[in-house]
């Protein structure tokens, strides 16, 4: 399948179209919002569902098989934020703290982008190792820590590590993902068969609803683009291509399949907009949410959702064809 038809198929998938509808709702100033408790419930459903499925998959592979990908992912978690911090020096008006905040966001990852990628790859018959969820959970954390360290390097101030780490680890993203992994691992395929109607069959539909809301929230960020500057827009699109390529390459080198490598690429390319903002807000109050949320939620998230996902598949196909 050529890249154009894959891209078109992604752009016309229901979740992506729902995201577009959310953007449109903001553009015409509709008062549409998902009620807050429903938004919360859906995000718990997605996190736990992804976690459990990943845990079931993890229970069926050997440590030898997942060891290398896990090591590679840890390496990505440290390299990507450092690279982002370094490249952002080119945008002159950004302070060190803002660069560190952005590095924390791009070093961490986005569950929804990951989920959309998995669902899309399945729809075009590209299989993805189920245990990629483990890599998602691993990649969430180090990026934030590295970003905070870089932001405060040389500054005479302390990061409230206790509070920030608590926010990351006890926040529902990591808690539910890790908890889901354990549940899935323990219950295995037999236990999962009893709940898979709820967590598999309904999953794409509920993701569609979630993306509608995210479209609305991202749309609100778009109006900040005017003040954030052209450099940030370039970064928000170009950097995922760099970090994503690194991710795909790491996947191929550590023995992941075509789809698995593409998904690790998507994980690397995506930027956090839930866990990282909360931690950064507590630890780096001077950093401007108008910069880091706009970049991760307003630019990079829509880019990855629409184009990044098919592009990573293409990069993975290319690397596999040249035989690395």
């Amino acid at each position: 399948m050529d890249i154009l038809s894959v891209a078109v198929q992604n752009l016309t998938s229901a979740p992506v179209l729902a995201f577009g509808l959310g953007l449109l709702a903001t553009a015409i100033r509709s008062d549409l919002r998902l009620p807050e408790p429903i938004y919360q419930a859906i995000s718990i459903y997605l996190l736990l569902g992804i976690g459990i499925k990943g845990g079931v998959a993890l229970s069926e592979v050997s440590i030898a098989e997942v060891g290398m990908p896990i090591l590679g992912t840890l390496l990505l978690g440290v390299t990507i934020p450092a690279l982002a911090f370094f490249l952002l020096k080119r945008i002159r008006k950004l302070s060190q703290v803002d660069r560190g905040a952005l590095a924390a966001h791009y070093g961490s990852t986005s569950l929804v982008t990951f989920t959309a990628a998995i669902i899309f790859y399945e729809s075009v018959s590209v299989s993805v190792e189920g245990y990629l969820t483990t890599l998602l959970a691993i990649l969430e954390i180090p990026g934030i820590i590295v970003g905070l360290l870089l932001a405060t390097r040389g500054l005479k101030r302390n990061v409230p590590w206790n509070e920030s780490l608590r926010e990351i680890l006890a926040g529902r993203s990591i808690f539910l993902l890790a908890g889901g992994l354990v549940i899935g691992f323990l219950t295995g395929n037999i236990g999962f068969a009893r709940i898979d109607e709820f967590f598999v069959a309904l999953f794409p539909g509920i993701l569609t609803l979630f993306l509608l809301e995210l479209g609305i929230v991202a749309g609100r960020r778009l109006s900040d683009l005017k003040t954030s500057g052209f450099g940030l827009v370039i970064f928000g699109i170009a950097f995922p291509l760099i970090s994503g390529s690194l991710g795909v390459l790491t996947g191929q080198l550590t023995g992941l399949s075509l789809g698995g490598s593409a998904t690790l690429g998507v994980l690397s390319a995506s930027a956090s907009y839930i866990a990282a903002p909360a931690a950064v807000r507590l630890a780096l109050p001077e950093a401007s949410p108008g910069i880091y949320l706009t970049a991760s939620l307003g630019i990079t998230f829509p880019f990855n959702l629409t184009l990044g996902i098919p592009i990573m598949l293409q990069i993975s196909t290319y690397i596999e064809s040249v035989g690395l």
Partner: protein, 98 residues
């Protein structure tokens, strides 16, 4: 019968309310009430848009504590965060509780 106290009301971005409650208690408040809030302020820019807006923390304290709480807000919250606070006079029964 009624005793004079100060009611301190603080509106802050929701992500910070746990830290704020701890800070307020550390300054000598004996209790507080938190409700979720939404509205508009001059800064109108905050993280956690996904996490639902603002929170309003109310606490009834002696005047000395109220002053300390405001001083604390002045140094730790106002410069960086979307935060607003005001104080008014109230009267309470059972003054040992406040």
């Amino acid at each position: 019968m009624l005793k004079a106290r100060k009611l301190v009301v603080i509106v802050v971005e929701a992500g910070l309310v746990t830290r704020l409650a701890r800070d307020v208690m550390a300054k000598g408040a004996k209790g507080y009430t938190v409700t979720s809030a939404s509205g508009l302020g001059p800064r109108n820019q905050r993280a956690g848009d996904l996490e639902g807006g603002n929170a309003k923390l109310e606490t009834v304290v002696p005047e000395a504590v109220a002053t300390e709480v405001l001083e604390m807000l002045k140094t730790n919250y106002f410069p960086h965060y979307a935060c607003s606070a005001w104080v008014s006079d109230v009267q309470v029964l059972r003054d040992d509780r406040y």
